[in-house]
C-alpha cells in the first residue's frame, strides 16, 4: 500500500518550498510520484530511482577508470589525505544538512582546512556587500502579506526559483494584499528580456555591466538631483518615473540575483542596491532579499557564522584561529594561486561550476568528492564517495534564502548500505583522531 508523505521540503533551491507531497512504495524504497514541486524539484526526487546510481565508493586508477572500494578504505584514504596536507580546501556544504556541516567543521579545525561554500561563486558578493553596508530585509511571508512594489533586479526566478513568484512575490494574496498580483506593481531590471521580465508590468533593459551606474542614478533621482540623459542604456525620464512610482507604494522589495553578483563590480552592485533600499526607508518601507541558489547554502553560512563568525571562506588552516578574506581564502583564488595542497568536496560540484583554471588546479591535487551522484568533480577526483541524498533519503535542518530554518524530511530509504553525510563525516573524524593521536 503506497503512502503519501506530506509537508515535504524541496531540496533544490533557496526557495525551500515545504508543501510537497511525495508518494512512496510501501517498502519505503521507491518514489512513485511528487506533487506541488516545480519541474526541477520533481526531477530531483525522481533521480533517486534512476538506473546506474553509484552506491559504493570508487577510486580512480592510473588508466583513468574507477574501481569500487569499501567505505572503510575510502575513509582511511581521505583521513590520511587530510592529516598529511598542510592546508586543505573543504568546499561545498550547500546541499547537506546543518548537522553534517558541524561535523565537517570539527574535522577542518583539526586538520587545518579552509571551509568554503557555494556562496563563493554565487552570492558571496552579496555577503560582502552586507558586511559593508548592512541590509534592510524581511521574511518572504512579509512580502506576500504587504508588498505592493516588487523589483526583480538581475534575477530570473522563472528559471532559477520556479515557484518563488507564485508562493511569495507576484501572485499570492496576503493579509494586506488581498488583490494579489493586481495590487502589486512588478518591475524587472535585466540585460535580457527574461521569462521573469514577461511577468513584470515594467521591464527596464540595462546594458550588461552597468547596474552600478544605473543604481547610482536611481539613488540620485530619489534625492531629486539632475542626471545625464542616458545611463546604462536607460533614458533618465524612465528612471525618474520608476523612482516616483516606487515612492508611491507602502512596502517595496527588491529581489536580486547573479545578474548583480557576477557582473563587473560584484559586491558593489549589491552594496549600492542596499544603499538605495536604505534611502527608500526614509520615505516608506523597503526591503531587499538575495535570491540564494542552493537549497542550504544559507545554512552553511549560518553554521559557520555561529561557530566561527564568518559566513563562508573560513580559513582554519592555522588551527588556532579562524580567518576570512574573500579574494584570499575563497576557493577559486586558493586554487588558482595554488594555496592549498588537497581538496575535499562535499555536496556540490565545483568541477561543473568553477572556472576551468581552478578545476585544472584541483585535478592536479589529491582530491576526494562526496556526492550522491556522478558529477564533473567526481570524475577528476582520486576518490568518489557516494552518500544518501539529504532531503530525500535522510533529513536535517536547512535555511531558506530569507534565513528561515526549515526541516528537510526523509521520504525513502537510501540504497542498502549507503552512508549519510553525517555518518560518513563522523567516521572520517574518528579516523582523523586515530591518525593524529598516533603522531
Amino acid at each position: 500500500m503506497p503512502k503519501v508523505v506530506t509537508d515535504v521540503t524541496c531540496p533544490f533551491c533557496g526557495t525551500l518550498c515545504d508543501d510537497l507531497e511525495v508518494t512512496v512504495s510501501d517498502d519505503n524504497k521507491k518514489i512513485l510520484s511528487v506533487r506541488n514541486a516545480c519541474a526541477i524539484g520533481a526531477e530531483k526526487f525522481n533521480h533517486t530511482s534512476l538506473p546506474g546510481r553509484v552506491t559504493r565508493p570508487r577510486m580512480r586508477q592510473p588508466d583513468g577508470t574507477f574501481k569500487e572500494i569499501t567505505y572503510d578504505e575510502a575513509i582511511d584514504w581521505t583521513a590520511n589525505m587530510l592529516v598529511k596536507s598542510k592546508k586543505t580546501l573543504m568546499y561545498g556544504w550547500a546541499s547537506t544538512s546543518c548537522q553534517a556541516m558541524s561535523v565537517g567543521h570539527e574535522i577542518a579545525e583539526k586538520v587545518g582546512g579552509v571551509v568554503d561554500n557555494c556562496a563563493t561563486v554565487c552570492h558571496g558578493s552579496s555577503l560582502i556587500a552586507i558586511q559593508d553596508v548592512g541590509i534592510p530585509s524581511c521574511t518572504l511571508g512579509e512580502v506576500k502579506n504587504r508588498a505592493d512594489r516588487v523589483v526583480f533586479w538581475g534575477c530570473n526566478p522563472a528559471h532559477a526559483h520556479p515557484r518563488h513568484m507564485s508562493r511569495y512575490s507576484i501572485f499570492p494574496r496576503g493579509f494586506f494584499t488581498v488583490k494579489g498580483h493586481k495590487g502589486r506593481k512588478i518591475y524587472c531590471v535585466d540585460c535580457r528580456y527574461t521569462d521573469t521580465a514577461r511577468c513584470a508590468d515594467e521591464f527596464i533593459q540595462v546594458q550588461q555591466g552597468h547596474d552600478y551606474e544605473l543604481l547610482n542614478a536611481f539613488r540620485t533621482a530619489a534625492r531629486g538631483e539632475a542626471l545625464p540623459d542616458v545611463i546604462g542604456g536607460v533614458p533618465k525620464e524612465k528612471i525618474y518615473q520608476v523612482v516616483e512610482e516606487l515612492k508611491g507604494g507602502r512596502f517595496g522589495v527588491i529581489f536580486f540575483g547573479m545578474g548583480l553578483t557576477h557582473t563587473l563590480g560584484r559586491n558593489h552592485n549589491i552594496d549600492i542596491a542596499i544603499s538605495f533600499t536604505r534611502d527608500m526607508n526614509d520615505l516608506m518601507k523597503f526591503s531587499i532579499i538575495a535570491m540564494r541558489g542552493h537549497w542550504n547554502v544559507t545554512g552553511s553560512g549560518q553554521v559557520l557564522s555561529w561557530q566561527y563568525g564568518f559566513p563562508y571562506a573560513v580559513d582554519l588552516s592555522r588551527r588556532s584561529k579562524a580567518r576570512y578574506q574573500t579574494g584570499e581564502t575563497t576557493s577559486v583564488d586558493l586554487l588558482v594561486r595554488n594555496e592549498v595542497e588537497a581538496c575535499f568536496n562535499i555536496a556540490t560540484d565545483p568541477g561543473a561550476h568553477f572556472p576551468i583554471d581552478s578545476v585544472i588546479s584541483m585535478s592536479k591535487k589529491p582530491t576526494v568528492t562526496v556526492d550522491p551522484h556522478i558529477n564533473m568533480s567526481t570524475e577528476i577526483s582520486d576518490i568518489h564517495i557516494p552518500v544518501a541524498m539529504v532531503g530525500v533519503e535522510t533529513g536535517g535542518c536547512a535555511y531558506r534564502m530569507d534565513n528561515v530554518p526549515i526541516e528537510t524530511r526523509k521520504v525513502v530509504d537510501a540504497p542498502d548500505g549507503m552512508l549519510t553525510d553525517v555518518e560518513l563525516l563522523t567516521k572520517i573524524n574518528t579516523r582523523v583522531d586515530q591518525l593524529m593521536g598516533a603522531q
Binding site: A160, G209, H262, L264, R266, P355, M376
Partner: protein, 135 residues
C-alpha cells in the same frame, strides 16, 4: 557577414539546465540544456549561419564547441549566453577582483563557425582541459 564575431558573454541558470542537472550531469537532458550558446538574430546574420549550427567560442582562457541557438529570452545584439555548466566554465576567466567571484558574466568572446566540429560531452570537456582525457 564575417567568419568571426566578438560578443559579450554571460553565463546564467536556465530551468532546462536545472532539470538536466538533477537528471544527472551525464544525462542527455543536461547535454542538450547546457552545450549551447544563445545569440541575437542579428549576430546569427553577421556570422551568416542558421540556428543549431556548431560554433567555436573562444575567450582569454580557452575555447569550447557549442551549438548556436536562438532564445525566447531576448538578448540585445552583441550579447550572448551559455547556460552555466562545464561548457560555459571552459571559457570563464577565473579572475575574481579579489572578491572570490570569477567573471561569470561580462567577458569578451570570439564566436566562429565550426560546422563539423563535434561537441564534447560534459565529462570530456572537463577531462580534456585537465589533461585526463585518453585520446
Amino acid at each position: 557577414m564575417t567568419d568571426k564575431i566578438t560578443l559579450n558573454m554571460i553565463t546564467c541558470r536556465t530551468i532546462k539546465q536545472g532539470v538536466g542537472m538533477e537528471a544527472g550531469k551525464t544525462s542527455q537532458k543536461y547535454f542538450d540544456a547546457c552545450s549551447i550558446i544563445e545569440m541575437h538574430a542579428d549576430d546569427f546574420k553577421k556570422l551568416g549561419i542558421w540556428k543549431n549550427t556548431n560554433v567555436r567560442v573562444t575567450s582569454s582562457v580557452g575555447s569550447v564547441i557549442v551549438k548556436a541557438v536562438e532564445t525566447r529570452q531576448d538578448l540585445y545584439p552583441g550579447l550572448c549566453h551559455i547556460p552555466m555548466g562545464p561548457w560555459a566554465n571552459r571559457i570563464v576567466p577565473a579572475y575574481t577582483y579579489s572578491t572570490g567571484e570569477p567573471c561569470f558574466k561580462g567577458f569578451p568572446v570570439n564566436v566562429e563557425v565550426a560546422m563539423n566540429e563535434p561537441i564534447m560531452s560534459a565529462v570530456n570537456v572537463v577531462k580534456d582541459a585537465c589533461g585526463l582525457l585518453r585520446k
